[in-house]
């Protein structure tokens, strides 16, 4: 039943993607599948929340019916408009292995990396199945809501004030967005009960999608072998594998932020349908964790600046901005509900008390260079940035978004008492980085492409270049 619960939103996302990308021929099957699951689950949980707001009992039938109806509607639309839904598979391994131009050692290395990455991803699913929810704030903050909503088959909006919206139970934080509890509830509805192991199974699928998206991206920008190496390095983050097996929201958020960034990148490359997806993934990120706002806001500003600078046609500019902004309305019901009930941003117990601790910069840098949690990617990123030379416009538009997001976190640790204390206790620093780590990997891929190109251009051996110099000198004489 868990498999059906995960398959249905994937199918919804896949069909929705086929319609949005109907004129798009560069997106292969694997990439679409990796986009489909996060897209579908985001749409599903937002719909469940809206149904809850409308006081529709959140039963299996009531929550599944809209999804099934949408799947049918999209299928009809696809048939009527003769939209291709199955583009060619895009892993590209077959071509690599059959090619006679690629040395055997490279093929063996590629095979080893495929097996390694595959085994790692598989093991994450195995580990998810072995452990019940174990991390303190996973159950105390996130699963409490899921359990109560599931038991009540509602969002408890008509309950007495002390129980309103499942408040007051264990350490539930009513201000937190509902993507995570709604996913746990959806799986429970399909299984007919809240199972402490099965309710987490939506999370490792995000890791699978992340891995697929980053591999496809790296393969397009670099080559299959380097892409697989990059994937193995990316999956070498212990913290990420760890979050993938637990009922946390950080990995889901990192997936949505990456997909919003990739869609933005594609849109900047002239693939216009991706403006819509940038907006949709942004809205889904906003429904996953509060801090998403501080990534999505600069992303939207960056996108609007890009659109404004890129096109001279005023109507086209407006059209592209609408395509980006309209899907953001998906997050509107949540924000309307949140602020109309004074839920605020972040945990309920956070008191906005200001302080000033500039000294945190040093321990933050020490932690960043401690090599903990994120393989060597964070350590090498500034170096690759320097070697990459003058950055491209598309790179700048994304890196500035990440920089704003980083500045936001640093400001939190430096200027607010609550987060300064959490920073000192070591409970926020790395897991906040986790939310933008995949975007850093995306930027690393773009940097590697530039550096590879620069090396290739300069690959003229010195021995060949010398006679030319001599000739010049001769002429000068």
């Amino acid at each position: 039943m868990t498999a059906i619960a995960l398959f249905l939103p994937t199918l919804l996302g896949f069909l929705a993607l086929a319609v949005v990308l109907r004129n798009e021929h560069d997106t292969g099957l694997v990439e679409r599948l990796c986009f489909s699951y996060p897209l579908g689950t985001g749409l599903l949980t937002i719909q469940m929340f809206v149904l809850g707001l409308l006081r529709v009992p959140l039963t299996l039938v009531n929550t599944s019916l809209p999804i099934v109806a949408e799947i049918v509607l999209l299928s009809v639309l696809i048939v009527i408009q003769k939209i291709t839904i199955m583009p060619k598979p895009s892993f590209g391994f077959r071509d690599e292995f059959l090619s006679t131009n690629i040395p055997r050692i490279k093929k063996v290395a590629l095979l080893l990396f495929i097996l390694w990455a595959g085994a790692k991803l598989f093991s994450v699913f195995v580990e998810t199945g072995l452990r019940p929810i174990f991390a303190w704030d996973a159950w105390a903050n996130w699963s409490v809501g899921a359990k109560l909503f599931y038991a009540a088959k509602s969002l408890l909006l008509d309950s007495p004030p002390q129980d309103f919206f499942a408040s007051g139970a264990v350490l539930r934080i009513t201000a937190y967005p509902l993507h995570n509890p709604m996913m746990q509830m959806w799986i429970s509805l399909w299984n007919g009960g809240f199972d402490e192991v099965l309710v987490k199974f939506w999370n490792p699928v995000y890791l699978l999608c992340l891995a697929g998206c980053l591999y496809i991206m790296a393969k397009k920008e670099l080559n299959a072998l380097t892409a697989m190496m990059m994937l193995v390095v990316f999956l070498g983050s212990q913290l990420m594998s760890y979050h993938a097996i637990e009922a946390y929201s950080d990995l889901a958020l990192s997936t949505y932020l990456l997909l919003a960034a990739i869609s933005f990148l594609y849109a900047m490359r002239g693939r216009e349908a991706f403006w819509i997806l940038t907006g949709v993934f942004s809205a889904e990120a906003l429904f996953t964790k509060d801090e998403a706002l501080f990534f999505i806001a600069p992303l939207c500003i960056s996108a609007v600046i890009y659109i404004w600078k890129d096109s001279i046609d005023r109507r086209r500019k407006q059209y592209e901005i609408i395509k980006l902004a309209a899907p953001l309305l998906l997050a509107a019901p949540w924000y309307f509900f949140k602020f109309s009930h004074a839920l605020g941003l972040g945990a309920n117990h956070i008191k906005l008390e200001f302080t000033f601790h500039p000294e945190i910069i040093l321990p933050a840098l020490q932690q960043l260079y401690s090599l903990e949690n994120f393989n060597v990617i964070i350590v090498f990123f500034p170096l690759l940035l320097l070697l990459g030379g003058k950055p491209s416009q598309e790179f700048l538009h994304i890196v500035l978004v990440v920089a704003s997001y980083v500045v936001f976190f640093v400001a939190l640790y430096m200027f607010t008492t609550f987060y300064y204390e959490h920073f000192s206790r070591g409970t926020v620093f790395f897991r906040n980085i986790l939310t933008y780590y995949p975007v850093i990997v995306l930027l690393t891929i773009l940097l590697l492409k530039r550096i590879f190109l620069a090396i290739k251009q300069a690959e003229t051996p010195i021995a060949v270049a010398v006679p030319k110099k001599k000739k010049k000198r001769h002429r000068a004489r």
């Binding site: 019940p132 359990k147 949690n373 060597v376 090498f380 300069a458 010195i462």
Partner: protein
Amino acid sequence: MDFNLQNLLSMPSINGITINDVQLSSSVVSFFYTLIAIIFVCSFVISLKKYTFLSALKKGVIITFFSAGIVYSIHADIGWSTWLINDNRVFGGLGTDEKLSRMEAGLYDFTLAVRKVIDDDYVLFSSDIYLPLRMEYFLLPHRKRDQAKYIVVLVDKEAHYDQVTHTFTRGDVRIDQVVPVLVFANDAYVLMRQPS
């Protein structure tokens, strides 16, 4: 800095803290930085024979990035496999309740017993911090209330139940006319208020 080669493959075990940070020992960090330096120097010197200074520098950094990254991944995945093997040994083949029972020891067994005897909200007394929260979570959707029908006592040094007078006391709290409905252990039991 103590550099102990035996610590190179050590990895903290799965717990609620590692979810924030999987710490590496100073030996491991020193090992990686040494490795990075060695790979970089070697690849840079070799590349210098074929490339200009800047290209050799770039090539050296790229080679170091991937080599160190892959060695790091081997290290990380050895740690990951250790967790996996260990968890398979502890939880493999068990049902969810059995897994929780093994993970939370007596607490979950007590919760299962409590769930069988209570059909309404409860008041929970404990002198611990973690245990009552975890129990409260397991007992959902029944909620913890001040004036509830059931009284759950879990590892509470101050709590006392007088079997003769059917009175429960804890500090200033005194509840009369209560009867035990479950005695799981000396410090883990459930009482029920009798209608007056």
